[in-house]
Symmetry: C2
Subunit: 267 residues, 2 copies
């Protein structure tokens, strides 16, 4: 098992751009701390696709919001009718999944300790890097507004040290090359039955582990995602929501590396 | 340790009213299953209080929503200015805390197995009983609408088997009498340092344990809440959000009673 150190060295990732951001992070962490990377993959987070811009439901919604359709997030709770004709419609238009899961991840003691990296890979092959200092809006409408701004400007805040960075046309495979994990576990109902405790006992021994959790409401990972994992694990006989799996993996990881006791001792 | 059985006997709680609902639940469970009760206490969930009905920010908001102020939920993200004059303002107006925490609790394998009871006690001494079959809206605005309907009609759906029941003027002490737990753990920064694993190891041995998690954003439990607990525990040196604590307590409880392995075996 790799132990973390007693502190965390902050470095100003931001001026280096997305790739340098990751390099810098792992350069400083390597040999000192074990960092868990969590990727919400194929996440149902995207702007309204072009084929729906002229749909009456989208046009009305855009008018109400005072924005162009291409600058709005696709959201099933508002665009259900318009979404019927979309390919893989059942996997798309659920920004709330990313919202809840990020709140779970960013609020964890593991993140507070600087030992968690969170990436959101979207259904349209964008990758969002989430700085661990990010404090997301708790209000859903504000989260939508923030994500819309991110899709438009590619980084938030646009002119200061970014907390969120969006890189376009970056598939999961490219992200893996950047992070260069030594072990990848994907959580999917199609995987081999294993409890979270058993799955985490493998990654807790690794130096740079990465877990993939599906950021979509229905369906399964694409074959290209499955191929990236050393192991595909089913942790329950029923489908569990993304935020439920995310919270369980992170808290079990914290438990196995002894983080809760350490943080209480350092009080 | 008390083990759960292989199934769960559904009973039609609803026609009995709130008290009979609880009696019925524990009557059937006693001796067969260990049920964990989770109470979100002093939760920041209330309708706009009378002293704010005439505030210009509230009047504008009510007009936009097409509802009377007394039928709207207090929400800091919209009523920040109006809330400044409220007593204990920092603890109030955060329905999102209940929303996220309920989604974590209701989506857990423990709940799917019928071994979790969730209660929301509010800052104004209302208690909401959440039927484990409840599928809450993921969309925040719809959740607000649902809660507003609940505060108005006292049960949802109003004329069918209720999934949510609101009982007015029921303080935590009265709720405890109804549930009659054999051990109560409250999670608070004011408590003794103990990891979630250590705290859960005590309640996992009990027959009818109850945990109290604060459903508010800042501040601490009132003295009357603290007095109800056999033990007050601080699980981290920093404040953790309600949904983070809720997820950790439930998942650790599942692990200690062996639920994940059992559910995979039953696949």
């Amino acid at each position: 098992m790799w132990f973390y150190g007693d502190g965390f060295l902050n470095c100003d990732f931001i001026s280096f751009g997305a790739n340098a951001f990751i390099d810098c992070f792992f350069f400083f962490c390597e040999g000192f701390w074990t960092v868990l990377s969590v990727v919400l993959a194929e996440s149902a987070l995207e702007t309204v696709p072009k084929e729906l811009w002229r749909h009456s439901q989208i046009r009305k919604y855009a008018e109400k919001k005072g924005k162009k359709p291409q600058l709005l997030l696709l959201d099933r709770s508002c665009h259900h009718v318009a979404m019927r004709s979309l390919p893989e419609s059942e996997k798309r238009g659920r920004p709330d999944i990313v919202h809840f899961s990020l709140l779970e991840a960013l609020g964890s003691p593991l993140n507070k300790e600087g030992l968690l990296k969170v990436f959101v890979h979207t259904v349209s092959d964008n990758v969002i890097f989430v700085n661990q200092e990010t404090r997301l809006p708790r209000n859903y409408d504000r989260f939508l507004g923030l994500m819309e701004q991110l899709f438009e400007l590619k980084q938030i805040p646009p002119k200061d040290t970014p907390l969120l960075t969006l890189t376009e046309n970056t598939n999961l495979s490219r992200l893996m090359e950047e992070v260069n994990p030594d072990y990848v576990v994907a959580f999917s109902r199609r995987g081999s039955p294993k409890t979270v405790e058993e799955a985490v006992s493998v990654i807790a021994e690794k130096k740079n582990p990465l877990v993939i959790v599906g950021g979509f409401p229905h369906g399964t990972f694409s074959e290209s995602t499955i191929k990236l994992a050393n192991e595909v694990v089913a942790v329950d006989r029923e489908m569990l929501e993304t935020w439920v799996v995310t919270a369980r993996v992170i808290s079990e990881y914290e438990r196995q590396i002894g983080l809760p006791a350490k943080r209480l001792k350092d009080k």
